[in-house]
Amino acid sequence: MDLDIVLQLADSSVRLATPLLLACLAGLYSERSGVFDIGLEGKMLIAAFFAAATAAVTGSAWVGLAAGLAASLVFSMLHAVASITFRGNQLISGVAINFLAVGMTALLGHTWFRQGGQTPQLVGDARFHAIELPGAARLADVPVIGPVYAEVISGHSILVYIAFLAVPLTWWVLYRTRFGLRLRAVGENPAAVDTAGISVPLLRYQALVITGILCGIAGAYLSTSMNAGFVREMTAGKGFIALAALIFAKWRPWPALFATLLFGLLEAIGIRFQNVELGGIGTIPVQFMQALPYILTVVILAGFVGKAIPPRAGGEPYVKEE
């Protein structure tokens, strides 16, 4: 493999990892607060739809992003009401949100655009475009570093940079701020937080607001940056893969970056090398390459890559005892 292919792979890994990373960090806030969220998928999907639909109508990707955020937030608050206020089953709530997103996007897409559930092709300012980082063109000729900077690091949309900046930011919030301390505490022992005079529901609601925002960005990225419009069920399990990455990362921000990059790379390989010829054995079918991220997810969940201990209070609604 020559450098070009490696660079291309790295470049598309970054692109493909971005929605996973955003969703993974979204899940991190939610699960660190003690709320399981298998509805990441649905939040991304609804955000992707509203972002693309709004961008298509207004012609502005930024207005689209705002609409995507709002939609994702609404769904996130639905999950919060069900699992925090009404102490419902968090898994079931997540499943409901995923279906609601699938149904609503297709239904509204059909009603608004009559294009079989798709939004119109986004052109011009309705899409987030690549940003050339300063000096990319000038450095391009410098061996190795130049192409890496120009191809892999430079030339992504603003949302990609937001996603990658969210990693150190999340680390800082988690380990250096009051909110982070309380967030980590409430997922481990909500009773400790409650008896320390802090409202458990409020804290969890705050966490789910952040989850909603991050899923919103992820969805908007899918439909207005990575692609030029919304396609039905375009999240294709990314929300679940992000959850697997979160487990792989043991609920920590920096490892989350590497886990999602790994999945991004895998997907990039799957796209780049379809119908791979293996000397003597035959071709690896394209379907296998497409299923690879899902298979890897199962392998990671099977714990063949180390045991992960989730936040102790995860998944259980908080009820006072004694």
Partner: protein
């Protein structure tokens, strides 16, 4: 203890939840610019307004009974099997392989063969997530979802590369031999001299579904295994103490669950399509979740909820035809709302209802105490 009467728990609360889901769905229809009342009329007319309509409604209901039972059985062991879609897909593969393997002389032979094949394939597809949960503690919700994706990729691969007729464009198997054909309601009712429309696909698999529901009832509430499954579902700690091996319960429960989901293929693949097509399950695996939640994981509830969703699916087809502004995905929305209200937001209705009963109960208690004193 907040106790509420059984009828409130199994009838009143699910009914209120359902009405809430219907109400919100009505709002959605209103937003689209159509009349919810008219939509409801079309839906009911299209689903139960004629023998023809019933024939389709019950066909869909048969699918949902199988997938609903699959989810319900797993729920009793507190396992959330979201893999019904993939398990039913694999069940279809099993049916297709067996039906194409031999020129079946008569349905009386082909039916048991189809049942066994679909159940085995469905169970096998559930076995891996079950084993990973039992032995490695992998979250079964995520692994079963992943297995849905993997099943879909696998079926595409097999249909495109191996199972379709050479030269054919469409990724589907050739039709099964005539001897594999299952008696439809039209044919069965003709034996006893009752006329029933010819085209609806409802077939003998409906009886199989009802039989399966009865078998699940016996399993859960009368058998020793069911006793152990329920004990495990309520408290894993207690189960261990009681000499109930968690690995065994998880495996057996998921195998049964996967087999039930797989058996849906007897109805959809062997009974209706009579060939294996791409996406033979069409979301029925997911509907099973809503059906099990609404049916409170009880076979009778599952049957009723499955008929309700059968109405929704059949009525939805008519709805799309009559009112093109409303697309078929309306059904998915309603399904999601049912899961949301009956599953996740259950307490929203339950708490006020139980408070109501509690207030009445306390009033009664006071009167009783006065009588004693």
């Amino acid at each position: 203890m907040r106790r509420i009467p059984v009828w409130a728990d199994v009838v009143l609360i699910p009914l209120i939840n359902l009405l809430l889901a219907v109400f919100v769905s009505g709002l959605v229809v209103l937003y689209i610019g159509e009349s919810p009342v008219k939509a409801m009329r079309v839906l009911l007319q299209g689903s139960i307004g004629s023998a023809y309509a019933w024939g389709y409604t019950l066909y869909y209901a048969t699918n949902f009974i199988f997938t609903g039972l699959a989810v319900a059985v797993a729920f009793h062991a507190r396992l959330f099997n979201i893999g019904g879609e993939g398990q039913a897909g694999l069940g279809g593969l099993g049916v297709a392989l067996v039906m194409m393997a031999w020129d079946w002389p008569h349905w009386a032979l082909a039916l048991p063969a189809g049942i066994i094949a679909s159940a085995l394939f469905g169970a096998a597809w559930a076995a891996i997530p079950a084993w990973l949960q039992a032995k490695r503690g992998s979250h079964i919700v995520i692994t079963t979802i992943m297995f849905n994706f993997i099943a879909s990729a696998l079926l595409v691969y097999l249909l495109v590369n191996h199972l379709k007729l050479p030269g054919s464009m469409s990724p589907e198997t050739p039709p099964f031999p005539p001897g594999a054909h299952l008696p439809t309601a039209h044919e069965i009712l003709a034996w006893v001299g009752v006329k029933f429309p010819k085209s609806p696909p409802v077939n003998i698999a409906l009886l199989l579904a009802l039989l399966a529901a009865f078998a699940v009832w016996v399993l859960i509430w009368r058998s020793r295994l069911g006793y152990e499954i329920r004990a495990f579902g309520h408290s894993e700690e207690a189960a261990r103490y009681g000499g109930i091996a968690p690995v065994r319960i998880i495996m057996l429960t998921m195998l049964i669950s996967g087999a039930l989901a797989g058996m849906m293929a007897v109805n959809a693949v062997q009974g209706e399509a009579e060939r294996l097509v791409l996406d033979s399950v069409q979301g029925a695996g997911f509907v099973g979740i809503a059906v099990a939640l609404m049916g409170r994981s009880h076979p009778v509830g599952v049957i009723l909820a499955a008929i309700l969703f059968g109405m929704l699916y059949q009525g939805g087809v008519e709805l799309e035809f009559e009112m093109p502004a409303i697309s078929r995905e309306m059904i998915v929305v309603i399904q999601a709302l049912v899961i949301l209200f009956t599953g996740a937001l259950d307490n929203m209705v339950r708490l006020p209802v139980s408070r109501l009963f509690h207030r009445r109960g306390r009033g009664g208690g006071r009167a009783g105490a006065g009588g004693n004193g």
